[in-house]
Amino acid sequence: MIFDFLIEPFQYAFMAKALMVCVLIGIVCPLFGAHVINREMGFMSDALAHPVLPGMVAAYAIGINPFFGAIPMGVIVALLIGYIVRKSNISNDTSIGILFSGLFALGIASISMLEPQNSSLNIESILLGQITSISIYDLYIATGLTISTLVIMLFFHKHLLFTGFDFEGAKVAGLPSHKLDYLLLVLLSIVIVVSLQIVGVILVVGMLITPAAAASLLVNHFSKIIFLGILFGIISAISGLYVSYYFNLPSGPSIALISTSIFGLSFFKKLQTS
């Protein structure tokens, strides 16, 4: 009975592909999320997700895989946010908010204009995630990108710990602190783009920060937060997939509801122990 319940969704090929992407983002999002929450970059990562929209729309419009529009756009936005923050007197969150709203608006406007001619372009599935749309190529690209970001992160994890903890100390120790921060932004934008198809533009930040934040309530060391966060991330993504299937909900909100529930439980546990 339970077994049937667990197996049934995967008689559909798209669900099997979605499951694999869920495992990938369940691993990679909390890994980056641990850095994001400790650097107080939650808003920044949200801002990286929304401006990717015009890139995806442009890719749809010319008939190529949305990854090829979203990845360059994500990287450009990541670099631009870093640049504006460094070069202007405007505060971080203001510069981020301006880019965020402006480019998101551009994306929405172009979807509205293109939607009547392009049936594959659906505003709701882009915003909230759409598992049925995942092709085998999407799965290959997502796997390739996830493995690449994981490998790069493996080598630069400690460097990023140093710059995140003590930016100037790291610079004096001879590390290229600014370049490392840009690297984190670029990797983060790739992770976000990989996650977009499952969780959607609006809720990607939830997948990124909520499992890591829940973990940070229960364990207190950076590497433990990463491992527990990954566990929470995988649980959220997979159970969200079932919720999405059985309740016929978009996958993004289903996953976000599960991860937020895990956060709620962790918070309750934290209150009990302290």
Binding site: F165, D166, G169, A173, N220, H221
Partner: protein, 275 residues
């Protein structure tokens, strides 16, 4: 900005690479006519001093007196308007890694849940090739550094849970892991009780005896000031430099902590002590 070495001892470095530059100058730090400007504010004016190797120097002055600015300039983080800086006979840009900087506690992101061992092992990052960074946390040199500062038994504790003095000792251990021969500690004693200050100072004196050059910035003129080998009194310019027992005259103290209007009347943007 003139960064060319100007003395005989330093020119040998630029012309002949087989010389070990770190021993080419008898001074660890040589600063001459240093000026730093922030938009409409002259933070440092005509600052000149020399610090020999293996000396523990207290940089004493009020808040806003330019201590952090001086440290930032020494490590190449702060662009300078005028003057020259040589660290072991080289401009600061060339010596990244040779100097270790312990920033003010406000500059550190304590939210990062790192253990003492993690932080100390970060000091080794620059020295390890890529494929060896995975187990730097277990390096013997890290154990030595931690034992030296008396933090071996606290190595698994999170930085954020440590007392002010323990944090400073952890940062000193990081500097040792980094193999830096010059240590700059910015406001190392702020928020640290007197007993712990003495412990930190004991560790620093031991390192000084091994040949490290150490600068500690402090705005707090307390009994510890007499325990430095030298004091550099800084209030946007050098008020005095020398033995702490003779340097703190009434005039110097007034210049450091008294009224500045008269004293700084000659200090203006673009005029670096020329008038």
């Amino acid at each position: 900005m003139n960064l060319k070495p100007s003395t005989d001892t330093t020119t040998c470095c630029s012309s002949s690479l087989e010389h070990d530059c770190s021993h080419s100058s008898e001074y660890a730090i040589e600063v001459s006519n240093l000026c730093v400007e922030f938009e409409n504010f002259l933070a440092l004016d005509e600052v000149s001093f020399k610090i020999p190797k293996g000396v523990l120097t207290g940089v004493v002055g009020p808040n806003g007196g330019g201590k952090s600015t001086l440290f930032n300039a020494l490590v190449g983080l702060q662009p300078i308007a005028h003057g020259t800086i040589f660290i072991n006979g080289n401009p600061p840009e060339k010596l990244l890694g040779n100097v270790s900087y312990v920033p003010q506690k406000e500059k550190v992101n304590w939210r990062f849940p790192l253990s003492v061992n993690d932080v100390v092992s970060l000091g080794k990052l620059k020295h390890k090739p890529f494929y060896k960074i995975f187990n730097i946390a277990k390096d013997k040199e890290i154990e030595d550094a931690l034992r030296k500062v008396g933090m071996w038994h606290n190595r698994t504790e999170l930085m954020v849970n440590l007392s002010g003095g323990q944090r400073q000792r952890a940062f000193i251990a990081r500097a040792l892991a980094q193999k830096a021969n010059i240590l700059l500690l910015d406001e190392a004693f702020s928020g640290v009780d007197i007993a712990s200050q003495k412990e930190v100072l004991e560790v620093l004196k031991e390192l000084r005896d091994e040949g490290k050059t150490i600068l500690i910035a402090t705005h707090d003129l307390n009994t510890l000031s007499n325990r430095f080998d030298e004091v550099l009194c800084l209030n946007r310019h050098i008020c005095a430099h020398g033995n702490p027992e003779t340097v703190f005259t009434k005039e110097v103290l007034i210049e450091l902590y008294g009224s500045h209007e008269v004293m700084l009347s000659n200090h203006k943007i673009g005029q670096h002590g020329d008038s």
